[in-house]
């Protein structure tokens, strides 16, 4: 276990929303009294480290943020509820093997029938588990008439409204299902999504996908706060994995939040994913002083303006009126918080000589209506940082509760 890191609640409150957490909402970092048992080793350097798949909640949410991401949204093409169940059962079986660092299918990569294609594609064979987590959720579109799920759609699984300055590409937004694969080796994460895609053939197809690197948040208070592509620390105040109370209040859906056929979502969470293109070239031509005014924190230490240390207590109202950290701070948003697991991305160029780069924003929360939507509404209207940002993809999913031993992903929704 890593050393216990303690910070006072007030100090954490003062540390403010987001370092430089683009759109990111603030999170109250309460006392960090230790690390969650599901967390891997700090830094994730040990390739053989395994994050348990089974549990009360899905792994990959409060799990220490791994170094790499492959995220994919799927359109379900299955035509019956039974087929959808079989897909999620097969995904569960594969996910159990993948997250344990094992090959999938009979014979695996090399031990099967010589004249048949191998069950496992093989590119992760000597890479071990690398703390791979697979986290699966259901989008609003899954709750249409196709699978008899209309009545089970949680009230909190709302369609996101259009925000000012959105430039969303529908072809790479939304999706019936999403899978977040995080690992400390990019090839392990890509192998996992590829494998699930292959298993899904005929029942679901990838709608869109995103690779990410360089985690832009952490839930490990003992780890240094990572930086985003604007060069600012991002995720200073993410709730620690050890802070069960804050996670229950802000991240995990609680029993009673939803009733009737939608009660299945208790123990799950809601994920908002946004592909945020960052105009880094114009940002890079902005003076240091202005950059810090836009963010509301210093670039070197990540300290709130007017303070010295990253985790110094501060009053958000003392920061520049249009600064990102002020607008996203919980105290400006009725206490709303999210657990962020964003990743940087760089997808070649835009054809105009600029990097197509940015932040793939992933945030988990107990209720989208109380967290992401009001915070993003405020940011889109007033945030000085918006000048440098463009939201190009978006989706919201109800993330399934954890899978008990012998169960399958989504069983709480589909098992009845």
């Amino acid at each position: 276990m890593a050393a216990v890191s303690r910070r006072g609640l007030l100090a954490a409150l003062g540390s403010g929303a987001v370092g430089a957490g683009l759109v990111g909402a603030g999170v109250v970092a309460a006392e960090a009294s230790g690390r969650a048992s599901s967390s891997g080793p700090s830094g994730g350097a040990e390739a053989s480290a395994v994050v348990p798949f089974h549990g009360e909640h899905q792994a990959g949410i409060a799990t220490d943020v791994q170094a790499n991401l492959h995220f994919a949204a799927f359109d379900v093409t299955a035509t019956s509820r039974d087929e959808l169940v079989s897909l999620l059962q097969d995904w569960t079986t594969a996910a159990v093997a993948l997250t344990a660092g094992k090959e999938v299918g009979e014979g695996g990569a090399t031990g099967g029938k010589p004249l048949a294609p191998p069950s496992d594609t093989g590119e992760a064979v000597d890479l071990h588990a690398n703390r791979l987590t697979l986290t699966v959720g259901a989008g609003p579109s899954l709750f249409d008439g196709r699978f008899g799920l209309a009545g089970a759609r949680p009230a909190a699984l709302v369609d996101l409204p259009a925000f000012p300055a959105d430039a969303l590409v529908p072809e790479r937004s939304d999706g019936d299902l999403c899978v977040q694969a995080c690992a400390d080796d990019p090839q392990v994460a890509v192998h996992a999504i590829r494998t699930l895609t292959r298993i899904a053939a005929g029942r679901a197809a990838v709608r869109w996908a995103q690779l990410g690197y360089g985690r832009a948040a952490t839930v490990d208070p003992s780890a240094p706060t990572p930086r985003n592509l604007f060069g600012f620390k991002d995720g200073t105040a993410n709730p620690p994995a050890s802070d069960a109370k804050t996670l229950d209040e802000q991240v995990w859906v609680q029993p009673g939040d939803e009733t009737g056929a939608a009660a299945w979502v208790a123990g799950g969470s809601y994920l908002v994913a946004r592909r945020i293109r960052m105009h880094i070239e114009t940002w890079d031509r902005t003076s240091l002083t202005e950059q810090e005014q836009v963010i509301g924190r210093t670039k070197a230490a990540g300290a709130p303006l007017g303070h010295a240390g990253e985790h110094d207590a501060f009053d958000a109202r003392t920061l520049p009126a249009s600064s990102h950290v002020r607008l996203a701070h919980p105290s400006m948003n009725g206490g709303a918080q999210m657990l962020r697991r964003g990743y940087n991305f760089t997808d070649g160029t835009d054809g105009l000589g600029h990097l197509d780069a940015g932040l793939f924003f992933l945030a988990y929360q107990r209720d989208v209506r109380k967290a992401f939507i009001p915070i993003q509404t405020a940011l889109a209207r007033q945030d000085a940082l918006s000048e440098y940002l463009e939201h190009t993809a978006s989706g919201v999913w109800a993330v399934f509760p954890g899978v008990p031993q012998g169960g399958y992903l989504g069983q709480q929704l589909l098992g009845a």
Binding site: K102, G108, G111, A116, V125
Partner: protein, 392 residues
């Protein structure tokens, strides 16, 4: 359960026999080194027929030149200084091949061989006819069961029929080009390819015909001649003077006639029929869905239909064989073939030569939908070759 570290060890093929496959179908039991000689399981046939090939700059040493029929795995090691490739020929037909084997590297090439005489060719530098070694295959599991023989006979007859039907269509195409009738030649172009597209893997096994008849301009190597259907396609749709491609049309006609004459000697096995079906769908996925195959004429859907029909025919002749080994696969493929045919049906247009709408009218969303059904079919179809060989 072992971790991936176990599988990193390059196992000699013999120890594959010790694989104990878990019945739950999800996880892999790799053998521990101490128990690898103890048990025996499904892969023992392959293990028994592992044959080493030492491919050097000046030699092609095959460890065993008299082989039993059935599944053989050639364990190739390139001990030379140049990149090499290894072919197995049956006369002028390529049975199987592996290109780009780097110096000091090894590769396992698995093939199902029936009784007969073959040549193994190593090609250091990847050029020329290579250094050849004759091998003979006798008896063994190459003896086809009655059901397998029925399947092979039915498929050969189908291939012959398609090849024969292509000859008069190419004749008409050639005549229209020779008479300078561009509109008529354009209308004859796509229909003249349907037979070829239906049996392409068999045609491709005659290694010399395919590059002459069906190469695309983008795939040409420096110095290679652009001939065949796509050369004619380019001339027909770019307004080029047709007189310049009359010799190309003549050659294509000669080639389709030759193809038709060679079919009786094509080596066809249940496995090659099954793998051929998979290759036809690969053609759809990489060439037709993308619209790359028919870049000028946009008649990709005609080829698409030919590929799917050819694959479906292969599946149909194999069904009685596979039904015994893997009934679930038969059910799955029956469903998925129907889904692909249903997805293709809305694009049928009897008014258009070839019977399908121009591919440039098919939207990106529609192409994505076609890709989905093709992927859904291709994944189980990739199991057909092994199932036909009894490796279910």
């Amino acid at each position: 359960m072992p971790s991936r570290a176990r599988a990193l060890v390059v196992l000699p093929l013999a120890s594959l026999a010790a694989l104990s496959l878990s019945s739950c179908g999800a996880l892999v039991d790799a053998p521990s080194s101490s128990s690898s000689a103890a048990a025996s399981a499904g892969a023992s046939d392959a293990a028994a027929a592992s044959v080493a090939i030492n491919a050097s700059d000046s030699a092609c040493q095959v460890a065993k030149t008299d082989l039993p029929g059935g599944v053989t795995t050639f364990s190739i090691t390139n001990t030379g200084s140049q990149v090499t490739e290894v072919y197995v020929y049956d006369g002028d037909r390529i049975v199987t091949e592996k290109e780009n084997i780097g110096p000091g590297t090894s590769y396992d090439l698995t093939v199902d061989l029936t009784e007969g005489k073959y040549q193994v060719a190593c090609k250091p530098g990847m050029v020329g006819d290579g250094i050849r070694q004759a091998i003979a295959v006798t008896g063994g599991t190459s003896q086809l069961t009655a059901a397998e023989q029925t399947a092979v006979d039915a498929y050969r007859s189908y291939v012959q029929q398609q090849a024969d039907a292509t000859v008069p269509l190419v004749q008409q195409l050639r005549d229209a080009i020779a008479s300078g009738d561009r509109a008529k030649a354009q209308s004859l172009y796509a229909p003249s390819r349907v037979g070829w597209e239906s049996v392409e893997p068999v045609a491709e096994s005659f290694g010399d015909l395919d590059p002459r008849m069906d190469v695309r301009e983008a795939d040409l190597e420096a110095g290679q001649q652009f001939t065949g259907w796509h050369r004619l396609e380019k001339a027909l749709w770019t307004g080029e003077d047709l007189a310049t491609v009359v010799p190309v049309a003549d050659q294509l006609l000669a080639d389709v006639k030759e193809l038709s004459q060679r079919v009786p000697n094509a080596a066809i096995t249940p496995t090659s029929i099954g793998n051929g079906a998979k290759e036809l769908l690969d053609e759809v996925a990489t060439g037709k869905i993308t619209g790359e195959e028919e870049a000028f004429s946009h008649t990709d859907l005609v080829d698409f239909k030919g590929n799917v029909d050819g694959a479906q025919k292969a599946f149909e002749v194999l069904t009685p064989v596979v039904q015994a080994n893997d009934p679930k696969l038969v059910t799955e493929l029956t469903t998925q073939f129907a889904a692909v045919q249903a997805a293709l049906a809305p694009y049928a247009d009897a008014e258009v030569p070839g019977g399908y709408v121009s591919y440039d009218t098919v939207t990106a969303d529609q192409r994505r939908e076609l890709a989905r059904v093709v992927d859904a079919l291709s994944e189980p179809l990739s199991q057909l070759g092994a199932a036909a060989a009894g490796q279910a």
